[in-house]
Symmetry: C2
Subunit: 280 residues, 2 copies
């Protein structure tokens, strides 16, 4: 893997510092619930197609009282895409060299009243370079108030950068987080964006604000719902709802596919899967 340039290093440093702050915030929520659960961090290394070092990452996982299972991964990888995969990635059609750095987070919550959540932001380099990412809320028991608060916070992050971002990116999330075989959405949406290129500073600032928005709003939603009593039927509904998440990630998710196709770490890629899921 080639040495990182200034933009790549800046992006990597941001994703790693965001990871540290998110993990601290989540552990603090566990403290508030009387749990001493903490993230365990496991570094992994990637070998490129030709056997040379291809970067790596750090898996972070916590199994707590509030966060039944949460994975927060950072990875910084590079090398050459396999030819058939290169053909499908912007700017890699003729030159398969790539670099990618990003953060990826999925939280499955113990209480069915607390929504599961996904957040991912990344910086890619091929012969082109761009930011992408997204965040979406997945409540087994939806509360309009939570959905509205989540969207409003992301809307504000978008609005500070470009008036077209929220309308475009929330619509993109609606289309992307969709289960065609069931004809239902995966959750209650959020934002999804990709190929933001041509203005590194502006797009990096936007990507940072997406991370800040997530870090601001999700812990608030968790605290609002984590002490709500729930029944065994609620819990079973949660396990069944999680089945949709599994179906989406294994049948459709680009990030899962990207990881499997680029020799990513299996445990990191599949950390998004829920601790327990049910198909009655």
């Amino acid at each position: 893997m080639k040495p990182l340039d200034d933009q790549q290093r800046a992006a990597r440093d941001w994703f790693e510092s965001l990871r540290t702050r998110i993990c601290a915030a989540f552990e603090e929520i566990e403290r508030g619930a009387g749990s001493d659960a903490a993230f365990a961090f496991t570094p992994w290394e990637r070998t490129d197609e030709d056997g040379s070092p291809g970067g790596g990452g750090v898996r972070g996982q916590m199994n707590g009282a509030v966060f039944e299972k949460v994975g927060v991964n950072v990875s910084t990888v590079g090398g050459r895409f396999a030819p058939e995969f290169a053909a499908t990635v912007a700017g890699a059609e003729d030159d398969p060299s790539f670099f990618a750095t990003g953060i990826s987070l999925v939280a499955h919550m113990a209480n069915p009243h607390v929504p599961a959540v996904h957040m991912n932001t990344r910086f890619l380099t091929t012969t082109r370079r761009w930011f992408g990412g997204g965040a979406d809320l997945n409540p087994a028991i939806p509360y309009d108030e939570d959905t509205a608060a989540f969207h409003a916070r992301l809307r504000a992050a978008c609005a500070a950068h470009d008036p077209t971002f929220y309308p475009r990116f929330s619509k993109w999330a609606e289309e992307y987080f969709w289960l065609p075989h069931r004809q239902v959405p995966r959750g209650v949406g959020g934002i999804f964006y990709d190929h933001l290129e041509g203005h590194f500073d502006a797009h990096f600032a936007f990507t940072r604000d997406v991370g800040e928005a997530f870090l601001d709003i999700f812990p608030r939603i968790v605290r609002r719902r984590m002490d709500t009593p729930f029944s065994e039927a609620d819990r079973q509904a949660l396990l069944e709802y999680r089945g949709r998440y599994v179906e989406f990630n294994l049948l459709y998710d680009r990030g899962t596919l990207f990881g499997l196709k680029t020799g990513g770490n299996i445990d990191a890629i599949l950390m998004s899967l829920p601790p327990l899921a049910r198909w009655a």
Copy 2:
């Protein structure tokens, strides 16, 4: 959907009668365990691409004391493949007309000492016509004795028809029931075969014997293990083992893909998924 010809009708009748006998055998096992669980049967109809009737099937499902969740489906469908899918099916490259009839069975067992099992046999018609199928054993806690008995019974069924069948079809199962992302097999194998064409009577007789072999051996393995005491740790290991089954079916299984691509019944296609699975 066109009227069935004699071969298609004979194959369908066999799959339906096998279904009835298997369900009776499984219900009898439940009786032996003091459970009155019974299969619930739900018919479904398929609409072809152009909106015309495209056949259908019957989902059979039982959630019992021994069979935590078992699905036994028969379907008889026909019409025209979508163009991009037709290109991938033998004999449908230039004419997308197809007919398919078959039985598909997946059993997830409550006791971790009893193996999960899959069995499917089918008769396809495009401009060509062939039989395919397979069966494989998926024990969370493997017993060499069970694995050997399962393979021996399938070997005997194969040997009565062609000395090359068992070596070829058991190797095919090893290759097919494989999780490349984990570099582990899905279970302990069995047989897998496809495109057996050119000799309808002989291949139909073989396909019937695969069904008979399954119906003979699997209930015996179940009875041998169903009363074995198990720990909570065994049960957790079972739930984790089932995760591999989910990964295989959603990431790689051709039958799942075939169903999703041909407008099959979602509940029938996903009936193979376990009642509960765990990704720690």
